[in-house]
Homo-oligomer: 231 residues x 2
DNA sequence: CGCCTTACCTACTCGCCAGTAGGCTTACCT
DNA sequence: AGGTAAGCCTACTGGCGAGTAGGTAAGGCG
């Protein structure tokens, strides 16, 4: 939630192209996330960005190009945030936990990004959804690899790659969905939401109902049922 | 996927109001699901319905009213489908399984309904999202009740109502999301998708990775890892 | 048979928004 | 200083789509 700088009045100060482009992108993400692709108008985006419409067209092209660019930028930012949060040497459950925390952390601090990325991109058809599917694909591969690796650690014969991928898809889906739900129920901190999903997907209802919970390997240790780990 | 009856040419046959309203609603769901709320035009809906625009306005009111009516109708149909699939006397895991099968069965046979219901309704803000949130709320309560009841069956002290509700939210979210994913990957049968989610949420990755799976209490028995149950 | 209600139509208005034409101004470079 | 290019603007067009005005046919019923 950046504080978009206020509406301009009169001529805007001269700025180098790169800076303006950044401002415009920020404005576009903001407006697209609030209004949706169709309802968002180039007039409003230019106004929020503090410039006039022709500048918008001069720098970022048509409305569709602009939107696609937003999606690509935000997707990249998010994947990087997650990658930075995970240590490849840790055991699988810890890696998953770190990934979830990084993911929900990103969403929490970039609600607009997530909104435009997920809800808007997926409800417009066409090339936008593909862009998104692409990112989801990368995320799924990541998790699938984690799972395969994870069963290597155990004594289990072999949990087919295909099956791992399905499960990964389900988990990524659950994450997307929980993040969406969180948008509408923002009172809870990121750590709690992440812990909830971690427990659900790692332990399952079966265990939870029986009273078992997963919790991160001790650091400052946690009281029983709801990991309140930092964001 | 109903075969919408073809485009009319000339004057439409006189029909009683109730019948026309049904036709119009079907057309509206179809068009909204394909194009999204904003891109859908009243002209196109009226054309698909086989009547003229003023009829549309006469019967169903403004575009927004029409959309809201679609959401309500489809939400009701869906909740009924699920309710009909579940027997209150069964043990909790079986109830959950039946519910999931009914849910994915409905989505499979009513892709357009689901699309309009979930993707469209949630990406438009305003009263539409509320309508949807309402339905989700009912679904969550249902699952939460199931969970609470479920831990009554075990010897566990008590899994706070609040926590049950969170988990229910996560599960419902996972279901929504997996259904969405399924829209884009329609090759798999409903039963497989349902089984996948069942395993994920009931067993958890922890157990799955260790080689344990959940499967429905024997009927014609299933070979190991991927429940290919009905629907 | 004629009257009226209900179903249905064609043909507009009007506002909004993507995209553009054409011109002004400020900074930098020689 | 003065040229020039990069940054910026106001003010338009053109099309599309929501919603309406005002009229035509068809079935029912006295």
């Amino acid at each position: 939630m950046h504080a978009e700088q206020p509406v301009r009045s009169g001529r805007a100060k001269r700025l180098p192209r790169a800076v303006r482009e950044r401002q415009i992108m920020d404005a576009a993400v903001d407006v697209f996330s609030r209004l949706g692709f169709h309802a968002a108008s180039m007039d409003e985006i230019s106004e929020v960005a503090g410039i006039s419409k022709p500048m918008l067209y001069a720098y970022l092209g048509s409305k569709e190009e602009l939107f696609a660019t937003c999606i690509r930028r935000e997707a990249t930012r998010m994947m990087e945030a997650i990658a930075n949060g995970v240590e490849a040497e840790e055991p699988p459950d810890v890696q998953l936990w770190s990934g979830l925390r990084a993911f929900f952390g990103f969403v929490g601090e970039n609600r607009a990004s997530w909104q435009v990325l997920h809800r808007q991109a997926s409800s417009q058809g066409g090339p936008f959804a593909e862009e998104l599917a692409d990112m989801r694909g990368r995320a799924i591969s990541l998790v699938a690899a984690l799972l395969v690796h994870s069963s290597d650690f155990t004594n289990v014969p072999r949990a087919g790659d295909k099956e791992a991928e399905s499960l990964a898809a389900a988990l990524v889906g659950a994450g997307e969905s929980l993040a969406d739900w969180w948008l509408d129920n923002p009172e809870e901190p990121a750590g709690v939401v992440a812990a909830r999903l971690m427990n659900l997907v790692w332990m399952g209802f079966g265990d939870l109902v029986a009273g078992d919970v997963w919790h991160p390997p001790s650091r400052r240790s946690e009281h029983a049922s709801e990991g309140k780990e930092g964001v």
